[in-house]
């Protein structure tokens, strides 16, 4: 800092003001960082508060819930969880949900992988129209398909099976999987395919041995999204099932007993539906940001 020594009072004032401004500029990032943290905390509290309340309810007995409002469980109880894990009506709801979600993930990925490869590598008659048509399925409101699905699956004898729900969720999950995978595949240079074919790899061998490992993070992200949209959808899932393959979501709506809604059990069941999601996010946390942009950033 080779500043000239000030000679006039005005120059002194000017220099002091400049130094002051510089100091303030250096100091600001710290306060800004705290403001960032503060705002982020406010948002996280907003996210967590309703979930905390659900958790709070799930550990209270029904008499405590309906008695006075308490900010945390006064007499901590696991009775609702015990009930869910001991009553087959309840826990079969989870088994059913997980069963059709896994089936859907498997089916969707199996047919979406080659299709996405075709879209990312080749031009063919009607490719753009086909891609747009696929995306329109993503936009179809489940309510529109409610009645026809019910009739279709009833006719072919799939009503109230896991396969029915898994197939119904393919409606939006296959287009989604193709969309995401196409993005990830397009970022793999085409020279890799060409080199492999020159080296004498057949297409299936190249696809399984070389290509799939290269887009493994994309596949992980795709599976995450398939899980997400199949796990959260309920309108189709509950319409296409009655007792044999009923998802947990529709079991929950039947907690209205003679004495009104069983709030404790409802809360505990709700908490248990959140957990699989958190586990799944944990596994893909490093790729999720890219995945949310559908591999297109």
């Amino acid at each position: 800092m080779n500043q000239a020594i000030p000679t006039t009072p005005e120059a002194v004032r000017k220099q002091a003001a400049a130094t002051d401004a510089r100091r303030r500029r250096q100091a600001r990032p710290v306060s800004r960082q705290w403001r960032r943290r503060g705002l982020m905390t406010v948002y996280i509290v907003f996210v967590l508060l309703p979930v905390y309340w659900l958790l709070n309810m799930s550990f209270q007995s029904n008499s405590e819930i309906l008695g006075a409002l308490t900010l945390w469980p006064q007499d901590f109880t696991l009775e609702h969880y015990a009930k869910i894990f001991s009553d087959s009506n309840w826990y079969m709801g989870y088994v059913n949900s997980i069963a059709y979600v896994l089936m859907n993930m498997l089916i969707s990925l199996a047919v979406a992988l080659p299709a996405a490869y075709a879209f990312s590598r080749y031009r063919f008659i009607g490719d753009k129209h086909l891609f747009f048509w696929l995306l329109t399925n993503l936009m179809a409101p489940p309510a529109v398909f409610l009645l026809p699905y019910f009739q279709l699956y009833y006719t072919v004898g799939l009503f109230d099976t896991h396969v029915a729900v898994a197939l119904a969720h393919c409606l939006f999950n296959i287009p989604l999987a193709i969309w995401i995978l196409e993005g990830f595949m397009s970022s793999v240079p085409k020279e890799i395919d060409e080199t492999a074919f020159i080296d004498g790899y057949s297409f299936p061998r190249f696809f399984v041995k070389i290509f799939i490992p290269m887009i493994s993070s994309g596949i992980g992200v795709t599976l995450f999204f398939l899980f997400m949209f199949s796990w959260v959808e309920l309108l189709l899932a509950s319409t296409l099932t009655s007792t044999g393959a009923q998802p947990i979501g529709s079991v929950m709506t039947q907690t209205k007993g003679a004495s009104g809604i069983d709030w404790g059990a409802l809360s505990a069941a709700g908490v248990l539906t959140i957990l699989p999601g958190i586990v799944v996010v944990y596994f893909v946390r490093n790729h999720i940001a890219k995945g949310f942009a559908l591999g297109r950033t």
Partner: protein, 295 residues
């Protein structure tokens, strides 16, 4: 994009997907089309009605009101969630364990089944057992979502913001992470203000992901069913009955096959039209980008 090989054998790769999607999309859709132009009495008696159901649906004041509410709802949540999501993405830390922890916490609402989201907010906002309902009443506000349409609307919008802002935030977060550090360094050398950095570095990088985000958000908000159904049941009165719920009541509750099929098609076409505009926007953006690169 432009160096794809022209090869019609690619259809073989598409085929399995096509068969499956045809089974779960084309056949049901044809059923809907079939119903929409006929009056079905029983398995053997049916009459061709032409466009009668479509006219009836378009002139039904109840459905018109639901459509208006639906647009009002979708635009409101977009107007809140997009800026809020961008803001949160800017606040999210980029490194360290906090980044992972906040990422997981922010994503959490997206992975809760939609009817459970409704239940969570039902429990949270009830006047007797809910923290928010109780809290607002303690503060002297006569909060009641089963009586007041304003309260019901406010709560549903708040719930949707809670539920879906993370989607926009995560999309923007991923967009922001793809900006090279050199851009920020250049901005610092130029003494660019915080606003200038946002406007000329960050926002241009976000346009692509924001188009995807707005598209997804519009689609999902336009199809919203489970959350308001659980929380308010469409009430008080019809004030929070959106299109999906009107349709389900009509198709399942009243078994009006013809009108509900016509309604389904109109509903689908509206979403399709709006999304087509967005899709062309995405394609044009990508084209512009490629031209920029080429130039």
């Amino acid at each position: 994009m432009n160096n794809k090989i022209y090869n019609n054998r690619a259809w073989w790769l598409i085929l399995p997907m096509l068969l499956l999607v045809a089974f779960s999309a084309i056949i049901p859709l044809m059923t809907v089309v079939n119903y929409s132009v006929q009056d079905v009495f029983d398995a053997n008696t049916r009459f061709f009605t032409g466009t009668e159901w479509f006219q009836a649906t378009l002139n039904d004041p109840g459905l018109q009101a639901a459509l208006v509410r639906q647009f009002a709802f979708s635009l409101t949540v977009l107007a809140i969630e997009v800026p809020l999501g961008i803001g949160i993405a800017l606040l999210m830390p980029k490194k360290g364990w906090q980044a992972s922890a906040i990422l997981i916490l922010v994503t959490m609402p997206l992975l809760i089944p939609w009817n459970v989201v409704g239940s969570i907010w039902q429990i949270f906002t009830r006047g007797d057992i809910g923290l928010m309902g109780w809290g607002l009443r303690e503060l002297g506000y006569g909060y009641n979502i089963t009586r007041s349409a304003v309260d019901a609307w406010g709560t549903i919008i708040l719930m949707d913001v809670w539920h879906w802002t993370p989607l926009i935030a995560l999309l923007c977060y991923s967009g922001l992470r793809s900006i090279p550090d050199a851009y920020y360094q250049a901005a610092r050398i130029d003494r660019a203000s915080r606003w200038a950095v946002f406007r000329y570095i960050q926002l241009p990088k976000l346009t692509n992901v924001l188009v995807i985000g707005i598209l997804l958000r519009f689609m999902h908000s336009f199809m919203i069913y489970a959350e308001p159904f659980v929380l308010t049941g469409g009430g008080p009165g019809n004030s929070t009955t959106f299109l999906s719920q009107s349709l389900t009541t009509m198709a399942i509750g009243q078994q009006d096959l013809g009108p509900s099929a016509a309604f389904s098609l109109i509903y689908f076409l509206i979403i399709l039209l709006v999304c087509w505009v967005f899709y062309t926007a995405i394609m044009n953006l990508q084209k512009d980008k490629q031209q920029d690169k080429g130039a």
